[in-house]
Symmetry: C2
Subunit: 648 residues, 2 copies
């Protein structure tokens, strides 16, 4: 998936043993490397093994050496030149511009002499990499520098820029951190793995505060650490002994960036955790965006945030990105593989291979099984997956969502009707996921004249989140990826999309203006600019409030959707009566519906032995677990928070 | 049950709130006590509240004062005289001998001036106490000393003597310990009790290493801590975070003394635990006996015992005895009540009342539901018991034991047949429980001439264990208690019982002698003198090896019972072929059979909502939990070790 993969010689290491290579590491590497190649030093860098050499050019000449080494050493291997063995940056720059096709559009080069890496920022990174990595290898052969290829996002994203700049700035400290993590990962497990356990710290018989501890005799891993929308006091049970002390966690795995999975991750660093977070690269960036917003919303609402922005930076600094499908050692007895979950950008299903073939546990995270406009459908194809923790948001007997085509038609109809009444359609939406889906629907509808072309205002972090999507097109659905990479076809850059960047005066102006469409956060009407829109547009009967996403228990969104028209907005004195039209269209969820959840399980091969239904309310988890048991004869559980299950 | 109860004014406090009385304790006591009575000091002593007074005689005059205080303060209350307010020991001795009827047979008096207590050792303690405590109150009124009445056992028991002497010697340290424990128990709970959890550390889908952690937001309690017969390496999972650090456990509760429940309790003290063990008085003594023997056997077999005898003493010193039926605060949010379990001497079912009416959890411990010759049947009458952890030793579909009358007849028949062949019957038996049951059967059979009178040799700790039984007749079945208290009817003191106290030479002599019956430990043929008996008697076809108790998986007893006649005795060079007759008679188990387990549940009122079947092998727990679910519509689980269940 990632550009890096092509040059690190990754190979399938799922079924290999955890034979320690630590004590005699240098010697073992030396033995595997042909004698004409120099091995000056060998170091761990997180899950990877880095070989420093005075002969980087000769390494690059051997097409197979990385694959051979990875297989022999049972690690992912990266080659780095010993400082001083490379051409000068000036000379190297010349060669790189020579070797790389011009239409790759190299934006800038950054030479890191401490690691021997050259960061090549380009609009078309694929052209820098070349067929199976041939161009980057050519560069190394010529100049001795190790190219790290980075995509210049087509839409500028301050989040992406900030994260990249911050990581560059923290590079030295991060190298120490990665070396430390590497030492731990590649040590021998102390004890035989004769059990693996999962403790539920949240999101059982509820939607929100996802958090689990996965525990073997050697290792303790936290999976997700979210908040609960509409119930700020209900945080994951981190203080129980299964999780404490947090400093003894070996790793954290984050399935995706939504706050009900990520909001409280920075808290771990406040309490002394300093280990890695494994997640995808886009999730790292989105999580930073959403966590900072979480702090912002909390302080605006007069709550004391549980941590500060410094801890968000800590979380980012401690993130080790993993690509979909890449098997990664994260502990001496655990290999992690993340797979596309189809839910939001970078969202993943986390597959844990525990022990040397002892057991496999999958955490579905939030999944969408069918492909959507944005993403390919969730992967449910695991070589082995005896146990699965499965989301059940729409697990109720009748939780069937409308067909997407019908849903889109209904949205267009509502927009046309509101337009005809000279009204404005306001859509509460998660900044991440549903907003981009709707943007694609609306852009297409206007392009094809199915609705009148009118301004589509993006309020809150929607534009920024969209820019992050364009920075990681590899994570988008196949066709969409191509369109984004051609600037004039990038649907997110259509003219009608306008950022609400003028605060309340701009909102008032928009509210008094011609018909338009507004996408605004938060998606469950629990805070953020949607509150202003409610105040401005709610009292007028020609406007429409349109729900397209899941509204959790206890949120204002749920109350309004259920028919409540008298609302009091927190932090605002005025009581408000909604006279606007209130509509709800299903079919845009980032979650599989009941049918999708059943299909997901049904089409697994082999089927899991045990499924634990979580991330759904009492009825949803109960009804889904009963159905899976009855229809598929799989042992199912409906866990409570604070329980521990042992496998196998 | 106990003599002490009569003078501590205990009352039912099950449903009362945990209102703290700590900060203003002295004042509150002062307010409740009539003004003519002095309150010099108020102290906690474990679960009890002790009032020190200069007017002990006046307190004793008021029949109701203790009950009134206990009710008002919601604590068990004891009154102690301030030193110096009592008559001299000489004068007091005179008065006591005056007041107590002569046939109480006072053996000796011991004055403890530090506590104002006088220990009255008597053969008939009931006569010292008098009707509803009238005689002891009379003593206090006259002399100001507080009588503590102790039974002189009819059979001398070195265990009972040693424990009592040791506790007397450690009295000062114990008082500090009890004061500490009291402070903790009677503090306010820090957090609301909105959950209670149980983690299984052993004895799930297996028989052995019983151990559970009961956990609330404020409190962590360990229940039992046993070994696993036939699998010495398999100890409870004490190292998991739910139990660690052991120093943070608030209390330990022991259901009964058998090693599969008690063997590893002393280990806790090795790892720094210094809190209380709650159990019955006879369990305390039996546990000491069995643990010391456990150390002895381990070192004889060349294993390194996991702890030393010093830790056994620690365990005894930290034991706070509780009587059957007495509701006892053991933490700010937990009340414990132990009930007769009918299994062995002092065996208990532990009922935990959690929070202020929040939830009730019962650990059955090992139960025998029907009365036996030795014990009344297990109590299953709880005001509330929403959740029950239930033993399932004989939980299999066909685990029905023979009728007791038939079993006894069969034993007599086997004995007669062996006698007629001039052979010896050797019966492997637990020192505690089955041995005494058999002694009663054999004594009666000889007395009634149903079998020839012949020597019955007791090898191992059987005699000592029997003596402990006679020290606690209140814990025996009603009729038996009376017989033990009349020396000439005490069945355990019949002439034919002879201790094997001459070691191997005596065994060889017995083996070469006339027909006899031998009861010898260990009950599952895993070590101890039974190994010598196998060697001496097993090769001869006129002898009989008779199994009457449960033989766990992995034990030599199980293998022989299943038909194996070629055995190798550990630590002995010789291979052995058994030619003796091998018989097995069920119906003497200390465990309820499948029918008894079902009846136990069926007759509960109200029925528990959830039953977790433990302490049985895979099949037994599976089949019992299925049956209870299907027949009684109770939610059942078949836990694994290392799982955590949350209630309600």
């Amino acid at each position: 998936m990632s550009e890096r993969e092509a040059i690190t010689g990754e190979t399938a290491i799922l079924s290999m043993s955890d034979d320690t290579i630590h004590s005699d590491l240098h010697e073992r590497v030396r033995n595997e490397v042909p004698s004409h190649l120099d091995v000056t030093d060998v170091q761990y860098e997180g899950p990877d093994l880095v070989i420093y050499t005075e002969t980087p050019r000769e390494f690059a000449r051997d097409d197979d050496i990385l694959g051979t080494l990875a297989h022999a050493l049972r690690k992912r291997v990266t080659i780095r030149p010993v400082p001083g063995t490379q051409s000068s940056p000036a000379k190297a720059k010349e060669v790189i511009h020579d070797v790389v096709p011009e239409n790759a559009n190299i934006q800038n080069l950054e030479f890191q002499s401490s690691t021997g890496e050259v960061f090549i920022n380009a609009e078309k990174p694929g052209l820098v990499i070349g067929q199976r990595g041939s161009t980057v290898r050519e560069i190394t052969k010529e100049v001795g520098w190790n190219p790290e290829v980075v995509r210049t996002p087509p839409m500028e994203s301050s989040t992406v820029n900030n994260v990249r700049n911050y990581l560059t700035q923290e590079r030295a400290e991060r190298r120490d951190f990665l070396a430390n993590v590497g030492e731990k990962i590649h040590g021998s497990p102390d004890k035989d793995v004769d059990w693996v356990r999962v403790t539920t710290l949240g999101c059982c018989r509820e939607v929100g505060r996802a958090s689990f501890v996965l525990h073997t005799p050697n290792t303790k891993i936290l999976i997700d650490c979210g908040d609960k929308p509409g119930a700020e006091g209900e945080v994951p049970y981190l203080h129980v002994p299964e999780a404490m002390p947090l400093t003894e966690l070996d790793a954290v795995v984050l399935t995706h960036a939504h706050l009900d999975h990520s909001a409280l991750l920075p808290l771990l660093f406040k309490y002394g955790y300093d280990g890695p977070i494994y997640t995808t690269e886009p999730t790292r960036d989105l999580m930073g965006l959403l966590q900072l917003d979480y702090l912002d919303v909390a302080s605006k609402e007069g709550r004391t945030p549980p941590y500060a922005s410094e801890q968000v930076r800590q979380a980012i600094k401690h993130t080790i990105p993993v690509d979909y499908g890449a098997v990664t050692d994260i502990a001496p007895d655990i290999k992690l593989t993340m797979h596309n979950a189809g839910h939001i950008l970078g969202s993943a299903t986390a597959h844990f291979h525990v022990g040397n073939g002892f057991h496999n546990i999958v955490f579905s995270g939030d999944v969408h099984y069918e492909p959507t406009r944005l993403f390919n459908g969730a992967i449910n194809d695991f070589p082995r997956a005896e146990t699965m923790f499965m989301e059940s948001t729409y697990g109720r007997r009748n939780d069937f969502q409308a067909d997407t085509d019908e849903s889109e038609a209904r949205v267009r109809e509502i927009i046309r009707e509101t337009y005809d009444q000279n009204g404005i359609v306001v859509i509460p939406a998660f900044a991440v996921g549903r907003s981009q889906e709707l943007m694609l629907v609306l852009e297409e509808a206007m392009r094809e004249d199915e609705i009148p072309t009118m301004p589509i205002y993006l309020d809150g972090m929607i534009r920024e989140a969209t820019a992050i999507h364009t920075a990681y097109p590899e994570y988008l659905r196949d066709g969409l990826r191509q369109r984004i990479l051609h600037e004039d076809e990038n649907p997110f850059m259509a003219d009608q999309f306008q950022q609400v960047d003028g605060g309340q005066p701009m909102r008032e102006e928009i509210a008094g203006d011609e018909p338009s469409i507004i996408l605004s956060t938060s998606g469950m009407v629990t805070g953020g600019p949607i509150m202003s829109w409610l105040e401005l547009l709610g009292p007028e009967s020609n406007n429409t409030l349109l729900f397209v996403g899941y509204q959790a228990d206890g949120t204002l969104g749920r109350r309004i959707k259920s028919g409540r028209t008298e609302v009091t907005l927190e932090g605002r004195a005025n009581h408000l009566t909604l006279h606007c039209r209130i509509e709800s269209v299903s079919g845009f969820s980032g979650h599989a519906d009941r049918n999708g959840l059943e299909q997901y399980v049904k089409e697994m091969n082999p089927q899991p032995e045990t499924i634990l239904c979580v991330h759904g309310d009492d009825q949803a988890t109960d009804q889904l677990s009963s159905a899976l048991y009855q229809k598929h004869n799989i042992r199912t559980h409906q866990p409570k928070n604070l329980e521990t299950f042992r496998f196998p």
